[in-house]
Amino acid sequence: MAVKVKIPTPLRRLTGNQSSVSADGDKLSAVIESLDLQFPGTKERMCEANGELRHFVNIYLNGEDVRYLDGLNSAVSEGDEVSIVPAVAGG
């Protein structure tokens, strides 16, 4: 199923400067794989070698921090919005 993914500035060099792209998957990890297929290198930026999300990356599913959901195993549905946001802002 197709979801909308909002791309932050640090990744836009990989997405041809697009700030919003479409990706597929039934859970968040699959969405990231789909992103990486379309825009090679995006997964490496977002995830550690072991596949875990990097500590300085926050991902929100329909506005909710996925760490409060099921992390990368969180289920996604058609039309959901995924936001990738740097974690080092604020304070």
């Binding site: 932050p8 060099r13 930026r45 977002m46 929100y60 921090d65 760490r67 304070g91």
Partner: protein, 417 residues
């Protein structure tokens, strides 16, 4: 032209990722393109060491700009409303309460907008002018709102201030008075912060604590510098710091260590202690549980200036607390107001909630023997109590009398404390 100012500082080399050490030019960026790590200003310390000395600092202005050799901006174009060089006060009454001998209060509520945030915004707004931004923006738990609005006014910039919708009225008024566009976000700080991170990506604004954050955060180093200078060019045995994002905590430590590396002080054996309120203590909790990263929480605390549930610098703050031999304290919510009241009662200083957290944390550290009677401790009082008047309502009970001596004698005499 303002653009001539860019890169006129030979001691400022680059931005460097704190996580993977990749280097970036001195621009309004804050995140490593590769690993999303935070960028930090990198200096040529050899160049700094040639120009800086105790004497050069002492002959500088009585503001944080006396330390501009170690800041990413110069004092020549500073947006300066007098931030810094706040009093460091020997506090014998509080020391007596806690069974200690050498307690110092760094009273940063004496800054122009009554909090330590004037330090960071003075630096960030100066850098924003260098980069030729026209809009100065921030997302704030309260104190930053006033500091940004005031410095934006001084700089002649348009200002845009985002705050959580439930902020105390003192902080709302304290920002609104300077004429910013004030946006109350229906949600908590972390939600407002996320919104602003996304907004900042699309707009050419100087967001002091987002795209200007590498420069902004350097302003907090001046707290460390001042503590060392005001103690007679030495670092204390302990520092107790209220922690929200963790940024200031890490920069106080950095400031002390830079002074040591430059030979301005002999060394740093300071133990850095984290103070957080029970209702929002992700950093203290991670410390006590032995974790290197904080688990985000949904804040529910009276100390709204510390209500950041997903602190950006938790990882680095935790590392410093451990490396320095420090600790972390979780202050029960009811002790926040008690700490504020105790500080007012004993030292005549009225602090906001974060200061109440600090004072109560200090009491616990003394009671637990973490801070020993013969050791020196500096507690950071980072904001003014008039910003959070609501907390003191239970303590306010004036005696009402008629304008006669008889009424005074009948109702007041003998009650004078």
């Amino acid at each position: 032209m303002a653009s001539e100012r860019v890169n006129y500082l030979p001691h400022v080399q680059s931005l460097r990722c704190r996580a993977c050490s990749r280097e970036y030019p001195v621009e309004p960026v804050y995140v490593c393109d590769f690993c999303f790590g935070p960028l930090e200003v990198s200096y040529d310390y050899e160049a700094v060491s040639r120009s800086i000395s105790r004497k050069s600092i002492e002959s500088g202005p009585h503001t944080l700009w006396r330390y501009d050799d170690l800041l990413p901006v110069g004092r020549e174009y500073a947006v300066d409303i007098g931030a810094g060089m706040t009093p460091l006060i020997r506090s014998n009454n509080l020391a007596g309460e806690f069974g200690l001998h050498e307690v110092w209060l760094k009273n940063d509520s004496a800054n122009p907008t009554w909090s330590f945030k004037d330090r960071v915004v003075s630096v960030a707004s100066t850098k924003a002018l260098e980069f030729e931004f026209e809009v100065l923006a921030c997302v704030s738990t309260g104190n930053l709102a006033g500091a940004t609005a005031a410095h934006g006014a001084r700089a002649g910039m348009k200002t845009l201030v985002f705050v959580p919708g439930d902020l105390e009225s003192g902080k709302i008024v304290g920002a609104a008075v300077y004429g910013p566009t004030l946006v109350a976000v229906k949600g908590n700080y972390d939600q407002a912060n996320r919104l602003c991170s996304e907004l900042g990506d699309e707009r050419r604004w100087a967001f002091v604590n987002i795209n200007m954050r590498p420069y902004y955060s350097e302003g907090s180093k001046t707290l460390g510098y001042e503590i060392a200078e005001q103690l007679g060019w030495k670092a204390p045995d302990h520092i107790v710091t209220p922690v929200a994002s963790g940024s200031m905590f890490t920069k106080v430590w950095k400031g002390l260590n830079e002074f040591a590396e430059l030979g301005l002080i002999d060394g740093v054996n300071t133990r850095m202690h984290v103070a957080q309120p029970e209702g929002c203590s992700p950093v203290s909790r991670a410390f006590l549980d032995g974790h290197t990263h904080a688990r985000p929480v949904v804040p529910d605390t009276v100390a709204k200036s510390l209500a950041i549930g997903d602190p950006a610098d938790a990882f680095y703050a935790l590392r410093i607390a451990r490396e320095s031999g420090g600790t972390a304290v979780i202050v029960p919510e009811h002790e926040v107001a008690e700490g504020m009241k105790l500080l007012a009662d004993t030292e005549g200083i009225f602090t906001e909630t974060a200061g109440g957290v600090t004072v109560s944390a200090l009491r616990r550290l003394a009671k637990d023997g973490v801070i020993k009677p013969g050791e020196s401790v500096v507690a950071l009082i980072t904001g003014n109590g008039l910003k959070t008047l609501e907390l003191m309502d239970p303590y306010v009970d004036p005696v009402s009398i008629d304008p006669t001596v008889e009424s005074f004698d009948a109702n007041v005499d003998g009650r004078v404390s």
